[in-house]
């Protein structure tokens, strides 16, 4: 199974029950989903569990999934976001007992080392997530997908199952809210690209011109 095969080709094989093709997609996207989940839960352990549930769900729903612009990525990210929502609903039940476990440093060591780096990342992520909580979840999810995963508007729409116009208005409101609440500068993507709307627009144009 060539590891460079397109998602489209691999997914067609997965739909025929090809486990090796599914394994190639797992190798391709497991780390991406791991980080998407971590950025929404602040826990590497939970992120690992979400990776498992995302890929199991992908396998089980393989006949229902529609590939977006040749990539399974938006769909996988959307399921990871849903997994994070489920995590928070569960977490609400035990909110007092679970307060800031990550920040307290109680964490199972991972066999690969990097323990202190992972703990530090969890502490920093906890701070970021707390600050993000001022936004309604549907605005938060859109701006996170836009800024952190750098999805296009169309990919965010596919990941969350909402119209593109809704993506645009939610993103606008989220950015305006974050910018106005303490008067800081513009909200950029993780990569530092400061012209994302135009870039996204151009991607749309390129697709349109390419007939897709």
């Amino acid at each position: 199974m060539p590891e460079t095969a397109d998602d489209d080709d691999l997914w067609a094989k997965v739909c025929d029950g090809d486990q090796r093709a599914f394994g190639v997609l797992f190798d391709r996207y497991a780390d991406l989903i791991y980080n998407v989940a971590f950025r929404r839960t602040g826990s590497w352990d939970v992120a690992e569990d979400i990776v498992a549930t995302v890929f199991l769900e992908a396998w089980r729903q393989r006949h229902q999934i529609r590939i977006q612009d040749g990539s399974i990525r938006p769909w996988l990210i959307g399921v990871a976001v849903n997994g994070a929502r489920r995590y928070w609903r569960g977490a609400e039940r035990g909110r007092r007992a679970s307060l800031r476990l990550a920040a307290s440093g109680r964490h199972e060591p991972d066999p690969g080392g990097e323990v202190s780096e992972r703990l530090d990342a969890e502490r920093r992520m906890a701070e970021i997530l707390v600050a993000f909580n001022e936004l309604p979840s549907k605005h938060r999810e859109v701006i996170q997908l836009w800024a952190w995963e750098e999805l296009s508007y169309e990919e965010i729409a596919a990941a969350l199952g909402i119209p593109v116009g809704t993506v645009r208005s939610r993103l606008h409101r989220a950015r305006a809210h974050l910018e106005s609440s303490n008067g800081t500068g513009g909200i950029d993507r993780a990569s530092g690209d400061d012209t994302p709307p135009g870039a996204a627009r151009n991607r749309v144009r390129a697709r349109k011109e390419g007939g897709t």
């Binding site: 498992a52 909110r95 809704t166």
Partner: protein, 310 residues
């Protein structure tokens, strides 16, 4: 924390530790093999397998939601979170009928099968969530009761403004045109206490389209000019929306007649008329004499048909 930090200074990405990644893949493949083999096939060893679906380990707590979010009237919400089954997966759907339990039950039937008895709650963030009644409810959630309904007019207003057939998503509109379209929908749906406002967006003046949101607190449709693009005029879902708008304008149809017309037009346009590719919602409106449609696209095509049952 500065907002550049919120979005720009994330902890660096990290890979799953290699041994864990390999183990996770092995476990997934074992489950897949087991599922493919069926109940009578060879059963792989479960010894030492990590409980793969126990996505509850570890925790970080978000502080309570901001106060502005807590006191919203749930009747003015226009979406619902359906929960309680792995295949449902906390999905947030646009409300359709005004009855969140019925809307989630539809999702269950699409994704899982006949649902268990469901109940609606308001969560601490002001959102409406539907769960099976036998599932435990997190602290702070309030039961909404079987009679609870979301405002069906607001649901239709949002769907119509989002719609490809006559809504703001049907083209790329400058603010004055968008105001006119919005006023038309407000009048047609009968939410005369709603007004129209606008916010300064980030439009570049060259490719300005107007988007919107419903400000439930002030009962305003807020229009925002933003950079954007018109939907591709030749996309099958755009053509479907246009044809349905024409059909329902020219003829007075019942819901079922409109559904049949939708299936026929979808087939003519080369669209797969089966779920989950095309979802058709039926919303009886005993006060209407003819049906009307809203077509929305977000990863799949959803057509909502409102009107008389017969």
């Amino acid at each position: 924390m500065r907002h550049e930090d919120l979005l720009g200074r994330l902890p660096a990405e990290m890979s799953l530790p290699a041994p864990r990644k390999e183990r996770l893949k092995e476990d997934l493949m074992a489950i897949i093999t087991e599922e493919q083999a069926g109940p009578n096939g060879p059963q792989p060893s479960r010894r030492g397998r990590r409980p793969i679906l126990a996505a509850t380990a570890g925790a970080v707590l978000l502080t309570a939601a901001a106060a502005w979010a807590v006191f919203q009237d749930p009747a003015t919400t226009t979406d619902v979170q359906c929960s309680g089954h792995p295949a449902i997966d906390e999905t947030i759907i646009d409300s359709v009928s005004g009855d969140p339990v019925a809307d989630c039950a539809t999702l269950w039937r699409q994704q899982v099968g006949e649902p268990p008895e469901l109940a609606a709650y308001q969560n601490p963030q002001g959102g409406v969530v539907v769960l099976p009644i036998d599932q435990s409810v997190p602290d702070g959630w309030m039961p909404l009761g079987a009679e609870f309904r979301q405002d069906i007019q607001l649901i239709e207003l949002e769907a119509a403004l989002d719609g490809l057939g006559g809504g703001l998503s049907s083209g790329c509109y400058q603010l004055p045109e968008a105001q006119e379209i919005t006023a038309g929908h407000i009048e047609r749906i009968g939410v005369s206490d709603w007004t129209i406002a606008s916010e300064r967006g980030e439009a570049d003046g060259e490719t300005t389209c107007t988007y919107f949101y419903l400000d439930r607190g002030t009962r305003r449709v807020v229009l925002i000019p933003l950079e954007g693009v018109a939907p591709p005029a030749d996309a099958p879902y755009v053509l479907l929306a246009e044809r349905l708008a024409k059909i329902t304008t020219e003829a007075c149809l019942t819901i079922e007649e409109t559904v049949q017309a939708t299936l026929q037009e979808a087939t003519n346009l080369g669209l797969d008329p089966e779920e989950p590719h095309l979802i058709i919602h039926r919303v009886p409106d005993s006060g209407a004499s003819c049906s009307r449609t809203d077509v929305n696209v977000g990863g799949r095509i959803e057509v909502t048909v409102r009107g008389p049952s017969s």
